[in-house]
Structures are given as C-alpha cells and as structure tokens.
Symmetry: C2
Subunit: 321 residues, 2 copies
C-alpha cells in the first residue's frame, strides 16, 4: 500500500497478525494492557510488520477490547509497525483515528443474516459506514495517511444462510471500492471455504477491483486453512491474516483453531521460498508472552511442537531480514 509506513519491498508475502484482536476477543478472560503490549512488541521484534492490535467496539459487548486506545498508543512507537484496528462503524473509526492507528479494517458481511446478527446492519448500511469513515479521513489532513481496509465477511459461506452468492460478493467488493476503501479482503469467517473456491473467487476479485484486491482472512475450522493459503497464493494473494498459536480456538470445533496459526503459516511460506521477514524462533518465543498474559491458555499450531526441519533454510537464504 502506498500510504503504509511499512516498506514491504524486501518481503514477498505480508503476514498480518490478528491475535491481539481476533484471538483475544474469542477468549473470555481479558489480557492486561501491559501484557498485550509485551506480546505485540515481541511479535514486532520477530518481524511482524502489521498487527491488528484490537477492536473499537462497545466495551459492553467485548470488555476484552476496552483498552484498545491504550494499546494503539502503546504500539505506535514501534518502528516499522503498521498498527491496525478493527472498527465496525463510524463511531469506532472516530475513536481509532483519534487514538492514532495507521490502518483500520471494517467488516462487511455478505450474508444478510450474519450482518444483522453481527452488527445489526444490512450489508448496504455497512457499506455506507465505510463511506462515512472514508469521508472522515478526507476531512482532516492528519487522518489522510490512514488506510481503510474493508473485509467481506462470510464471503465463502455462512452458518446461517449456507452458500453465499459469489456474484453478490463481487458486487459488494465493487461497492466497497466505490465507498473509498483502499483494499477489499475476503474472509472465510465460518471455515467454509475450499481451495477451488478460494482460487476462483480471488481471481475474480482481482479482475473486478484490480489493485484494490486485498488479502485473505482464513480460518482452520475444518483443517483446511493452509490448503486455502496455497490456493490463494496461486491466485496471486500476497497478504494473509493469522493468529499466533491460533489463539481463541474455534467455538464450533474443539481442538481446532479459529484463525490459521501464524507460526505454521510463516513456516509454510518460508519453506515455499516466499520471504516473510519473520524469524520463526523469535515468533515461537513470543508464545510465552501470550501465556504470561493469559496463564494456562491453550495454544495451537504444529511447528512450535515439531520444530524446524533439519537443515531448514529461510527463503532469503540466510536469517530473515
């Protein structure tokens, strides 16, 4: 992204860590603010360049996210880090912009039933919120550098509606670009996506909105998360969301993660010869920060247990930059 403060020329794929937001909001306990910042610092030190540090939603709905402005303020000084937060609407964006985020991500659900139950808006009303946030950004010079990303939730299917129309997802993506979003991601919120569908839809998304085509937010509900990554790479996707240790798990599948696991994703990419800029030893070391903030929490992922293969080489040939 041209307006990002992070230089990305030395990496092939951007891994966007969502653990402090998507992971923590799925855990009932609240991680203390200082622990969140320790964890974020360790992730950045491992090479993560974009971290979704929290979500500006009502503290009544998600008390785990009540300190989001403090977390943004604490993460801002980290050199080279894009500080990203989720905002559901204009009100959230006002708080996020005031707190000093570099980027916001706004979920817009393709499924009407999911949209209603999740944010009590129609998809069209959610698009209007994106437009309002982009207008807010345009109004103030000190906000103009902030990226606005839209994420089409339930893009690959919905637990309430079942199949979701691909034509409608593409139409929605076009509406979001028109509303002013810098990029549009597709989210497999429900763990319904399969690799054939991922490849087909991201190719179509690129044809539809060109360089506004964003990343993939994939879940591992049915064990298919990294398989979908391979298909998305094939379709040219170069940004992936993931969560350290698959934090938060998956409410529908005991033993399964919600988000794909950052450690396993980075291993996959680096072993395929794609530079992420992330040091796997440091990344695995950062798991201790999660446990420091949430003692006894279950962490997922296979690479942390199995270790790296004998003779493993990073894509860059040496250590990651």
């Amino acid at each position: 992204m041209s307006n990002s403060k992070t230089a990305k020329a030395d990496i092939d794929v951007l891994v966007s860590e969502v653990g402090p937001r998507d992971g923590l909001q799925s855990v009932k306990r609240t991680m203390p603010t200082t622990a969140k910042l320790d964890w974020i610092a360790a992730l950045a030190d491992a090479g993560l360049r974009e971290i979704e540090v929290g979500s500006f939603v009502s503290p009544k709905l998600l008390p785990q996210m009540a300190d989001c402005a403090d977390v943004v303020a604490g993460a801002r000084p980290i050199d080279g880090l894009t500080v990203l937060a989720l905002v559901p609407n204009l009100k959230g964006a006002e708080r996020a912009f005031a707190a000093g985020v570099d980027k916001v991500t706004m979920p817009v659900s393709a499924s009407r039933a999911h949209s209603k139950s999740n944010i009590n808006m129609t998809p069209e009303q959610a698009v209007e919120q994106v437009a309002a946030v982009c207008r807010l950004r345009a109004e103030r010079p000190d906000y103009r550098h902030i990226e606005v990303e839209a994420g089409v939730a339930t893009a690959f299917g919905c637990t309430m509606e079942g199949a979701v129309s691909e034509d409608w997802v593409m139409q929605l993506a076009g509406m979001l670009v028109k509303a002013g979003a810098d990029s549009v991601c597709l989210s497999d919120t429900t763990g319904y996506a399969n690799p054939a569908q991922i490849k087909r839809m991201f190719k179509r998304l690129h044809a539809e909105i060109g360089d506004k085509c964003g990343g993939a937010h994939l879940h591992n509900t049915r064990g298919q998360g990294l398989a979908n990554v391979v298909a998305a790479l094939d379709a040219g996707v170069m940004t992936f969301d993931s969560s350290q240790g698959g934090l938060g798990g998956c409410p529908y599948a005991p033993g399964a993660t919600g988000n794909i696991v950052t450690e396993d994703l980075v291993f996959l990419l680096e072993s395929m010869g794609l530079r992420t800029g992330i040091d796997l030893d440091k990344l695995i070391g950062a798991r201790s920060k999660v446990l420091a903030g949430l003692p006894g929490e279950t962490l997922y992922g296979n690479v942390a247990d199995a270790g790296l293969p004998k003779g493993f080489q990073y894509a860059s040939g040496g250590r990651p930059a």
Copy 2:
C-alpha cells in the same frame, strides 16, 4: 491400475486408507483382530476402496501387526475392496501373497541413513528386494494379478540427513520401475515437504516415469498436510494415503497427526468438486470402531468435530455412490 479389482471410473481421486497399518503400528497397544476387521468393514462401507490393512514384518519388531495374515483373510471377502499390505522385503511378500493380498506396497528410503536404520538395507538393496518380489509374482499365475507399489520414503527430506537430493529421488524412481514396480509413490515420511517442492517433484516424477507415477503419502507434522495435497493435485496426483482420525499421532509433535486425516482429506476433496465415492457421515461414524478396538485412544481431525458446512454438497451433487 489395470490389474486392480476396483473399478475407479466413478471417482476422481482415490483415497487409500493406511490407518490399520501406519496408524496402528504407531500405537503401542495392539488392536484385537476382530476389532481391526470391524473397523475395516466400516471403512469399506463408507466407500473406501483401498485399505492398507497391515504390514508383513517381524512380529518381534511390530507385535501389533502379528495377525496380518488373518486380517488379510478377513478383509478379502469385502466386495470392491483392494486389500493392500506393506511388505519390507521378499520374505514379507511371500507371506502377503500367500495370505491373498490384492496389492503390496514396499518402502524404499531415499535417505541412506534412514534406509539403514529403518530396514537395515541400502536403497539399492531395497530396490533389489522389489525386483525379487516382482520375480516372485511373475513365477506363479495365481500371483500375477497382485499389484506391486513402491514408495520412496524420505523423498522430501530426512530427520537424519536433512535435505535429500531430488535427482537421486528421480533416479531411484526409475530404478524401481525397472525393477518391475507398477507404480512409484513419494512419501513425506518426516513431514518436511512444502507445497512448492511437492508440485515440482510430482511433475518431475510424471515426466520421469509417466503412468507409473503413483500417489502421495503425506504427513501433517508441521500442519502442512492438506496444503501439500492441494499442490499435489495441481501436479496431477490422483491418489492420496491418509489415516482415519490421524491415528497414532506424530511422535515428534504432540497434538499433531502423523498421517493426514482421512475425514479432513475427504472433506477437502469433495468440497473442491473431486469425487471420492466416500460418505463423510459413515466415515466419521467409523471412528467409533477405532475406539471400540482401542478404548480411549486420541483421534484427530477437525471435520469430525466441526461437522459439515450448512448446505454442503458432495462433488457428485447427491450422496456419494
């Protein structure tokens, strides 16, 4: 395979179940013979058409496999099932042929260190065993229908040697075809493979040995199993080994499976529009047979917990055949 008793025209991908061999040999307890046969019958009823029912090795080394001849005899009457067994050498093949198998698979390790420690032979000596088994088959008319598959173990890397030469793997595959093998599979014995490597090597294998190019035996040690399936499909691979419930786990990675999980593999393939002929509900139901034979054993896999997506459709459109 032309000499298989299983008609495969109505499926796109053959899922070869290895749980009763690869899974059970990784579990210390021994599943009783009748329980093995109940499980195999349930798998076949779910639509599995090829099952590796055991291994003809020394009962001193693997007491769990001591009843292999009885299991073969018990599985033989199942209509449409290819009864497959692992044999490490000529002696094992003699027992397997006498027991009435439809097919044998012979591991030949590309890594010299692994070959030595696993079967106490050099790779060249192991190839000579394949040749001897093919001669045995040629000698007796009642053996001539038996398929001989060779599997190149540690084809993607070795825990002892690290990287394994791709040129050498291809050379070995050529030697195995020359020795008389009907097909040559590549096995990621150590969970080292990545999708880029899988795609490259299977394409090369096909160029090298044409229609003798066999399936992929993939592990999930670092969470990359199904990602490798997607890459292998891209390279034209149409046969995959997997194990129900990831039975036996992975000794190197607590919480991880060894073999990829049949349930998750079948879900992935069917959701991609590839017909397996397997009924997922019946397949998930067959997990109870594993637990009947090995009470309290840990089973893995996400689909069994998460269930099928709302509105899920098999690749055939209706129920699997």
